[in-house]
Symmetry: C2
Subunit: 460 residues, 2 copies
């Protein structure tokens, strides 16, 4: 019996959230105990599904009183095991908190429950004549709470920033039992520390977010999408840097390489975009309120090294170009189960990293192949490695050490969870981690919130 | 003798920063003990002027060991006494930390010492072909450290966000003695809590920032400035809301009223911008990389209620229009010493606030007059009240209570300091302040950093 299965605790949880919303059968809890990749799974556990903030607070109180830890979970789309219990923690599923509390079209803001999907936020925003700045492939499953926990980025960070840049206010139950409701729609408010920023990226270790006020951005009517081909990686990176500075309306600059393009064309039966193969590709998108290709066109004229280009101004053709980038994950899945390495580099270190990666992999495993794509204008690469046993972490370790050597981060946007805790020390010094631990103790003194995620234990 | 003047502490400070950089004479310390408005002043104190981060750390250690509090100070341009000692604290002046450590033109980032002025950051950015997103009237005195402490906003928050949105990394000496050096140039890094965001707006109560890595933004070559006149405040506010949504290149939307315009024209001998007087004015500016008035022109055509307009596309004419807004502070000074109330409202509450303000003031003081201007697209108003005794806080109290009733903030961008501590409770509940206090205790357990600023003591 895991700690969460203590019959008295189960009874008390049922008193709080209703018996229907406490799940104990392994069959029923399986979808909460295993992540979507199947990589992270837990022994038997108990799932509590509160329907309002007061119930969340009561569950946190119960767990604290009984000394049983809990793991908050949103859409369960995480990639690092941050929402999956490992040692019998209670799963606190926020999916029932999925309503819109307020749509303020005048200000361009929405208040939504933590269980609302990103797709639903997009729909609410569009109805009010706005858009939401964060977009990612898992939009129809990933929840607002989960994207706050991981400070999700995605496709438009370049223009609108990460989730931290969108969250104007939160309602949260902190580990110490305080329920903080700070959901006012103020663009400026310098009357204390900024709790929303602290919670973004905290992976449920400080508080359980139950609702958030999100800023919206103008809905842009005119888009230009371009696929640019380059014959060297350096030329592609130089173009990305130049576009970042020259094109104000830039919304996305995504990199992928020839091997990936070949794969998505064959796996997805897509037509080749250009007559000849090239080395590297940038998928570029700009958006604005008026029909205007001038800015991008002027910039493209000044970018050296473009070997070929396809430009789309109508949405259907734009989406067709996006498919070369967006079907990478699916296509790579046809080759094998990849090691998915989410990492970030200082922009000047992207070229050295991409230069050294193939030989590093070749040294470690003969059959290893890297598929590289990502949000290159933010220095965020997704390196997928196939041809390596799923549980062989030597590849991950070697790549992360190279990242650290180049001043990069072992997690750009997926977080640390339980999977990457062993590598946090590559990106953070003890002088950084110690204050993080002090903050954790301050807001969750009993250490009941996701205790096995994010922060590695202090070295004795 | 104040605690800071203890001869042993003075000797030890001199050992750390050098005798030349410990100021003890009242004549010499006067400029550090009194703010530029003369409103906040302290009895005798001691000023330490460290020249590097290790010296800052040693000063913090000394203060902690001797139980003497310290107040960090930058350019001393604050408006709420946040950088002025009140009870004999040591003044830790960061002005000597004014160098540029790194200008990364490829990434659009700079690393600068905390004592660098915002004007110097603008110059560094321009040299590297970029711009800095935060701009404010005190740019040539205000320092990077001070703007981090107050999370300064200014003229371009609408487009680029506040200081928090610019700070990618910090070097800081925390109250507990940790020196954290986290100055890597990563746009994405989800490997722990976001210390830069926590320090922005913390008013020197958690750590002393010694250096920061700032993101830069593209330097935009083409600007359009427009002064729009309206015959009702509601029409001006509706136009601001509409422009905010319709004009992607919008950089500033500043509001002022007829009384203010009359005053700046007479005090500054400026020509009247329009033949007839109107009720309210918006100073609007857009900027982009290509010469294009299409977006603003299209938006202006769709804005109802514009009674008159002046549009400038050349820099000199643009600056001339800005003078109607920027000389407000100076012109108001010719009428009397104003109570300067920096406040924020939810956008839908701007109209009710502006509607109720005159009668509220008339009730309280017959001679009181409000001069209103501000960053209206962010809901941030600067209400200056003349005709009231400088030390009569009943006006401030009444205005802040109205702000609170409407869901606003008693400090939009100037911070709390010592001056506004009595009103923090109007904008923050105890359930918010308690976790703030826990964070303060976690990072500054001895309570030596600016102990009389920002957070009010817990109600017993």
């Amino acid at each position: 019996m895991t700690p969460a299965q203590d019959p008295r605790l189960v009874r008390e949880l049922a008193d709080v959230v209703g018996a229907d919303h406490v799940l104990v059968d392994d069959d029923v809890t399986a979808g909460y105990r295993t992540d979507w990749t199947g990589r992270f799974t837990s022994p038997s556990s108990v799932v509590a599904r509160p329907g309002e903030t007061a119930e969340v607070a009561a569950v946190v109180d119960l767990c604290r009183a009984s000394g049983v830890a809990l793991v908050a979970q949103g859409g369960n789309t995480g990639l690092v095991g941050g929402g999956i219990p490992t040692q019998g923690e209670v799963v606190l599923s926020l999916r029932r908190l999925a309503g819109a509390h307020e749509v303020d079209g005048a200000s361009g803001q929405v208040v939504v429950g933590a269980g609302t999907t990103i797709g639903a936020v997009h729909a609410l925003a569009a109805e009010a004549g706005w858009a939401y700045g964060v977009d990612l492939a898992s939009r129809d499953s990933a929840t607002v709470g989960g994207t706050i926990a991981t400070n999700a980025g995605g496709l438009r960070v370049l223009r609108y920033g990460d989730t931290r840049a969108q969250v104007m206010g939160v309602e949260t139950v902190l580990g110490d039992g305080h329920t903080v409701t700070a959901l006012t729609g103020l663009y400026r408010n310098n009357t204390g520390y900024h709790l929303p920023s602290l919670l973004c990226g905290s992976e449920g270790t400080l508080g359980v977010v139950t609702a958030a006020r999100l800023r919206l951005v103008p809905r842009l009517r005119h888009r230009v999408t371009a696929l640019l081909a380059f014959d060297t990686i350096d030329a592609a990176l130089a173009a990305a840097a130049l576009l970042r500075r020259a094109v104000v309306g830039l919304e996305a600059v995504e990199l992928f390489l020839q091997a990936g393009l070949e794969l998505v064309c064959s796996a997805g039966s897509l037509p080749r975009p250009f007559p000849d193969p090239h080395v590297a590709y940038l998928l570029v998108e700009t958006a604005g309120q008026i029909e205007d290709r001038g800015e991008l066109a002027a910039a493209l004229e000044s970018v050296p090294g473009i070997a070929d280009a396809a430009v789309a101004t109508d949405p259907a053709r734009g989406r067709a170009l996006w498919r070369y980038r967006e079907t990478h994950t699916e296509a790579i899945g046809t080759v094998g189960t990849p090691h998915k390495l989410d990492l970030a580099l200082p922009l000047p270190q992207l070229a050295p990293f991409l230069d050294r990666l193939p030989s590093l992999l070749a040294e470690l495993a003969a059959g290893a192949q890297a598929w590289v794509f990502g949000h290159v204008a933010d220095g965020n690469l997704h390196v997928n490695v196939t041809g390596v046993a799923p549980d062989d972490e030597s590849i991950d370790d070697a790549v992360f050490r190279l990242v650290a050597e180049l001043g990069g981060s072992v997690s750009a946007e997926h977080g640390i969870g339980t999977a990457k805790r062993r590598w946090v020390g590559l990106s953070r010094t003890e002088a950084e981690l110690d204050p993080f631990r002090a903050i954790k103790r301050a807001l969750d003194p009993a250490g009941i919130l996701n205790p096995h995620a994010l922060l590695p234990p202090a070295t004795p």
